[in-house]
Amino acid sequence: MDSAGDRKAVGARFIAPAPLRMDIFLQQLINGLVLGSVYALVALGYTMVYGILELINFAHGEITMIGAMVSLAVISALVGTGVDMPGVLIALTGVLTAVPVCMALGYGIERVAYRPLRHAPRLAPLITAIGVSIVLQNGAMLIWGRQYIPFPPILPTGAHDIGGATISDVQIFIVMLSMSLMAALMLLVQKTKLGRAMRATAQSPQVASLMGVNVNNVISATFMLGSALAAVAGVMVSAYYGLAHYYMGFLLGLKAFSAAVLGGIGNLAGAMLGGLLLGVIESLGAGYIGDLTGGFLGSHYQDVFAFFVLILVLVFRPSGLLGERVVDRA
């Protein structure tokens, strides 16, 4: 233990870290952006609800889980019947089933768990949110069991080489779909009547109602939009990792929440930026944490980065990167 040779060997690892390889760096960046675009979709749901109700919907992560579970049930059933459908179409059928189910769920959660508490102290809906999470997790466990559910190998397995790194068809599809969904959401919020009503309600529900806006409907629509995005994100995550699990919504939800806070909660562009950044930070962090700590911490510490980022943001810039208001409550 005390021999000079041992110390030298340990020292060498500190002094001469592996040189930065561009292809590995690029690969981590690609993986991070893919993951980050999924985080962004989920983060949008947190931020939209917060923007309007100043409520953190902690059940939102579970909606991604339900989205994954429902779509996997449909996909597995379709694969089981042996129908002659292209894999992408089967997956799409899964998504198109999960989206309305999750929208209904989001609508129901708001009606049952949050609306009756609209004028209650802020802690009350936070507690019901945790209650709803527990109910959804346990409900999913009862229906689908405690085991990991595999995503059937129906998706294209093609991959492409970019500067020594690979990007798979699934990764390309995930990024393109999330970008299109985010663009569609921005259009909706900026250009449509519903979007204007949402922004007006976020600024002042009372004045919005004086304009003839049915604030309750706007709130329901907000929950349903966020849940639709979460459903898609849930399917993406399970397709990406090749599995789903009744507990998967917890960590995904917390990370997406961290992404929303990083971007500035309540700010849509912030949620997208925060999601992408968090994905990249996590991926690069996991890739290089071994080198940076001389092998003391390994890439299984990947999940730590989201919370590290969350703490840093809350300490140094509580309003987030693009936020104006300080999150001083909830």
Binding site: R196, Q203, S209, L210, G212
Partner: protein, 236 residues
């Protein structure tokens, strides 16, 4: 039949009664003002009338229909528009979008376009600043925007809560002139004001509110010469 009729109208905050059984009527085409000291209950009355606060007792008849316990968005859709105290503009939206919000419940595109022209004619400043963020406007411009936005809903009854508050004298004059112009176009107006003198000068009738009740009501010119009113509200 009056356009608006409040009967024994009462509003409370928790257990505290802020408006205690008010009777008030407004005929079609009238410009009526409601004056009273700070804290008399004027804003509370307007808010409850529009459905922003629950009505504790009494009733609101609008155009002969009871709208007493209707939600705010449905009351707004009947043609009742409140320009709230403090203006309540959407600061993170453009001036144009604020005006669009005023026409939110309407579907007649041609009519909306027409009313937008009317608002721009009334407040040319708003046309110049159409693309600007509303939060960056001056206080007077924000008041114009709030009034223009209310007009975009094609109101039959316009409720104005202290429109001249916090404005420079020149802007106050502009606001009062505009209120009179809007009234002359046939919009019925209930004007709540701290500036009792100017309010009474442009109104046909007035109500004087004191700690939640109507202390006095009369034709505006009579109130202007009433010794009690002159002493308490006109500072003479």
């Amino acid at each position: 039949m009056s356009l608006l009729e409040l009967k024994q109208f009462a509003v409370s905050y928790g257990g505290i009664k802020a408006v205690k059984g008010v009777d008030l009527q407004i005929e079609r085409g009238e410009l009526v003002c409601l004056i009273g000291a700070n804290g008399a209950g004027k804003s509370t009355l307007l808010k409850a009338l529009c459905g922003l606060l629950p009505v504790a007792h009494g009733s609101v008849l609008y155009d002969g229909k009871a709208i007493t316990h209707q939600p705010a968005h449905l009351i707004a859709r009947c043609g009742l528009a409140l320009v709230p105290e403090g203006r309540g503009i959407f600061g993170r939206m453009s001036v144009g979008e604020n005006l669009d919000m005023g026409g939110y419940s309407r579907t007649d595109r041609a009519g909306i376009k027409n009313d937008l022209e009317r608002v721009f004619a009334l407040f040319p400043r708003l046309a110049e600043r159409c693309k600007q963020q509303a939060g960056t406007l001056s206080g007077g411009e924000q008041q114009m925007l709030a009034m223009g936005r209310a007009l975009m809903s094609q109101p039959r009854l316009l409720l104005l809560d202290e429109p001249s508050m916090g404005l420079a004298p020149l802007m106050v004059e502009k606001i009062f002139t505009t209120i009179r112009a809007i009234a002359q176009e046939g919009v019925t107006i209930l004007l709540v004001e701290q500036n009792a003198k100017r309010a009474l000068e442009i109104s046909q009738r007035g109500y004087v509110m004191e700690s939640g009740t109507i202390a006095l009501t009369d034709a505006a010119e009579k109130l202007l010469t009433n010794a009690q009113v002159r002493h308490a509200y006109l500072g003479e």
